[in-house]
Symmetry: C2
Subunit: 414 residues, 2 copies
């Protein structure tokens, strides 16, 4: 048995205990919150090593920022864990039930998934966030974070493990793989004997590697090539406001937009207004021929490839379309299936767009930036699924569960 | 583009039409039913070639029986398709919805999965069953059946394709891969660009091959190593009746039992009664030492391997356990997570068993043979999922769907 297989076996064992644990899960989460706050100094010290290594390795300023922890961020991370404790426990919820003619009583009941693997990149706060959500939903978790944050992750995981053990949970409800080699990630992806699901949290490269290599069920998250379509009946001011918000309020996140599609009948009027708003944040535009014709040479000609890109930056692709059908077809071809918006005053076109566009979240007259577990009222979020199986869109505690049927009889045979 | 990639692209295109199709889906299903009946003779002729080839290839009598079609079976298959038309359409169902403080209205709505791949073995009726369920739930389907049934499958698929095209659906809503080589199955498992889910229907060998090779999301089905635990408080007559039914009413199906676990305090009394019932069907018993001691030398000593086996035959493993906890631990170790039963008169033990056993269906005092879409009232069944992601237990139309969020606003930004 390899080290990681051994972790899998221990997680499976721990998950059996967790599956029927009740209030003790909340005690453990509160204990984690307190322990993280009490050990804030030691987390900061471990994080300083990561930051120093990151600087030596030449990480960008934005990566270093994501990596870095201070007292405020650590306390906020701890409070997040306590907040998860305050959410309703999904386990045991009866989702449906009925009595059959033969007298059998059938109930469908929410149960934990079992063991969840999470592969993530440089943000050490994911260690606490993800572990807290998995634990609350009754799952053991095996975390495998990026090498950049390994010292911070080890410190946080050790604190959490000690805290839950003191609360009476098996220590292996939370485990961290300390080996950050590519091989350890690949081995985790193949751990089908022990892992019930694997959730990769990171960029397109990580997600694709997991989809190609995993032997366990995967929930893909977070790649967002999102669109706003400006219909010919759109309120131009509203369109400009939504596009400005969806592109510039936080360009590095998955619910930010990457391409706008503008109906040709409104393009001459709308594009200059939209550009004027975006210019205030120096957004680079990459447009089709018609866009360049209307807006002039400051627009870079877009390549086919640009329409597939998740820029995650102050860059926006622009295309003028002949019809709403062309906009829907463009989205079907290029989108990652995350979030799309139509800006329209037409009832018919709003209905057509929301029915025909096949993405996790489809908006009429609102910014795609709302696709978020917190905004949707889920209380907390483990990620945003862009696949269709099991969970789609923002995933909260319910999406970390499965169900089973419980059938009660008095001797029925078939 | 390979032939199978081309089928994938055509299926994706067809699925976009199907996603918003309403009544036309039912028209197409009725047309399929009628066309199958009208072309019964040609299906029988095609099936005769498969039977002849099967005899030459030395297929067993039971395999030949599964493979063989006659007028009665074909009409029953056709009526099954018409029955699917009569079920409620799951697409468009609003599963939840609310209005946020900022005025945004959020709805979670049922939508099709998109393109479903089905890999199955020698039963040609799966071609019509699976296609009908996929179509009703708004999904395009790519079927890949076993080589033994290829002529029957081609005949049925051609009839279905022509029928749906006449009804106004794209002909490629239903496609059959005619290449029955191992390579064609492997290519289908890797078709992540076009396939939203792959459902293997067959034995453990097929399921494992799919889990190991698939790059697309998979729903595992149908491997059932099921158990009955006879508690020390059990009604012995009831236990014998449930065990007899669960083992012998149809040993070749996944919800039949393979092992019984008997509490040591009741074993001396219960085992002879159970054996007497099973002897009427000449069931071979493979027992632990204690079982052999109680029942004598007619019981074959069980190996460790026997407890992992899905015999699918008149063979039953027997083990005497010291406690309900040992029974639960045995099931956790050896079960495939399909269906398990406790026979007990104890409220406490019934609660403990149903809470602690982590399988798709957990029974108190009833035969595991009830784990079935029809018995559970789903109307029809595409298979029985033994995984925890997306669907667990019998899968009906709802399990062939996904959801999306539709968010309606009037200019909200974040």
């Amino acid at each position: 048995m390899t080290a990681i297989e051994n972790m899998g076996a221990k997680a499976k064992e721990a998950s059996r205990f967790l599956a029927t644990a009740g209030k003790i899960k909340n005690d453990a989460l509160i204990a984690i919150c307190n322990a993280i706050k009490e050990n804030c100094e030691s987390i900061i010290k471990a994080n300083e090593i990561d930051i120093e290594n990151g600087k030596k390795a030449g990480l960008t300023a934005s990566l270093l920022d994501r990596l870095s922890l201070n007292e405020q961020r650590i306390f906020s991370m701890a409070d997040g864990v306590a907040q998860v404790a305050s959410l309703a426990d999904p386990i045991g919820t009866v989702l449906s039930g009925n009595r059959l003619e033969n007298g059998l009583k059938i109930q469908r009941v929410r149960v934990p998934l079992g063991v969840i693997g999470i592969i993530f990149e440089a943000r050490p706060n994911v260690t606490a966030d993800a572990a807290a959500l998995c634990l609350k939903a009754g799952n053991a978790v095996i975390l495998r974070g990026g090498k950049e944050a390994i010292n911070s992750n080890k410190a946080i995981a050790d604190i959490m493990r000690n805290a839950i053990e003191k609360s009476g949970l098996p220590i292996d409800c939370i485990q961290l793989i300390e080996d950050t080699s590519r091989e350890s990630a690949t081995e985790l992806m193949g751990l089908s004997q022990y892992l019930d699901v694997l959730i990769p949290r990171g960029g397109a490269g990580l997600i694709n590697a997991v989809v190609q290599n995993a032997k366990v069920p995967v929930i893909e998250t977070g790649v967002g090539n999102c669109h706003v379509y400006v219909d010919k009946t759109a309120d131009i001011e509203m369109a400009a406001s939504i596009i400005f918000n969806a592109k510039t309020s936080r360009p590095s996140v998955c619910n930010a937009i990457e391409t706008i599609l503008v109906h040709k009948a409104i393009a001459e009027k709308a594009l200059p207004v939209i550009k004027e708003r975006l210019d205030t944040k120096s957004v680079e535009l990459r447009g089709c021929e018609e866009t360049v014709r209307i807006l002039g040479d400051s627009v870079i000609p877009a390549t086919e490839d640009d329409y597939y890109k998740e820029f995650l930056d102050y860059i926006l692709a622009v295309r003028v379309v002949d019809s709403i059908d062309e906009a829907i077809a463009h989205i079907a071809k290029y989108s990652s299936g995350h979030s799309e918006c139509i800006v329209t005053e037409s009832y018919e076109n709003a209905e057509k767009f929301t029915q025909s566009v096949d993405s996790a979240a489809v908006y009429v007259n609102a910014s795609t930036r709302f696709t978020d577990g917190g905004e949707f009222g889920l209380g907390a979020e483990i990620g945003i699924s862009t696949q269709k199986l099991h969970a789609r869109g923002p995933m909260g505690l319910n999406e970390l569960t499965s169900t089973k049927f419980i059938i009660s009889g008095n001797g029925q045979v078939r």
